[in-house]
């Protein structure tokens, strides 16, 4: 079974803090993704990576950056957290020639 693990289930951070969300997958998938889920908006793609050290912006990259130093690990960084970044963050991974993505359990981030 594919396993995608996100480092935290719940996080509370203060406005202006630098926040790191970590994601690890154990199936040697090339692609990794970060989405955020908000009510009425569905899942929106923040950033994705198709190889180590490679990254591309998704639909809503502003205020975020990412790091992929190893194939199995993909980190999302909130450079200076703001209240409008309060959301559910979901990491996913997939193989290059497959559409099906496997998701982690999500991180509920609250910025106060």
């Amino acid at each position: 079974d594919v396993k995608v693990t996100q480092s935290s289930r719940y996080l509370v951070k203060r406005t202006g803090e630098k926040v790191f969300l970590e994601c690890v997958q154990d199936m040697d998938h090339e692609n990794m993704f970060w989405y955020r889920q908000d009510p009425g908006l569905g899942l929106r793609l923040i950033y994705f990576s198709y190889d180590v050290k490679m990254k591309e912006k998704g639909d809503i990259p502003e205020g975020y950056s990412v790091s992929r130093e190893k194939k199995e690990r993909f980190s999302l960084i909130l450079e200076s957290a703001s209240t409008n970044q309060t959301s559910m963050y979901l990491c996913a991974s997939s193989l290059t020639d497959k559409a099906e993505a496997f998701f982690g359990q999500g991180t509920r981030l609250t910025v106060v």
Binding site: V4, R9, N31, F33, Y35, G40, L41, G42, L43, R44, L45, F48, Y50, E56, G58, L90, A92, S94, L95, T96, D97, K98, A99, E100, A101, F102, F103, G104, Q105, G106, R108
Partner: protein, 116 residues
């Protein structure tokens, strides 16, 4: 610009009846479509998919129909069970587009409630 749309935010059905969830898309380059199911405080789990070369795919109680000319797909659940109550997301990918990295574009989701 919402490329994948689920226009019904919620749906309520009686246990044992059919649930029909709908999804529309605008990008004709999409060639693979998926449905995911999500419970609160959990990540989405893959349910069923369909390639654009097919018009129907069935897996147990779940059937997905694709109408390419209308750019519309639907998920049928028969019979519906209370455990099916969740948020359902439709997703699309342009898998065969050169250089595509397999990213999925999601709809807004439909909350299904199955009443006992």
């Amino acid at each position: 610009d919402q490329q994948v749309k689920q226009n019904s935010p919620s749906l309520s059905v009686q246990e044992g009846r059919i649930s029909i969830l709908n999804c529309d898309y605008t990008n004709s380059m999409f060639d693979y479509f998926l449905w995911y199911k999500k419970y609160p405080a959990e990540g989405p789990t893959f349910l069923i998919s369909i390639s654009s070369i097919k018009d129907k795919n069935e897996d147990g109680r779940f059937t997905v129909f694709l109408n390419k000319s209308a750019k519309h797909l639907s998920l049928h659940i028969v019979p519906s069970q209370p455990g099916d109550s969740a948020v359902y997301f439709c997703a699309a990918s342009a898998l065969r587009v050169s250089g595509n990295t397999g990213k999925l574009i999601f709809g807004q989701g439909t909350t299904l409630q199955v009443k006992p």
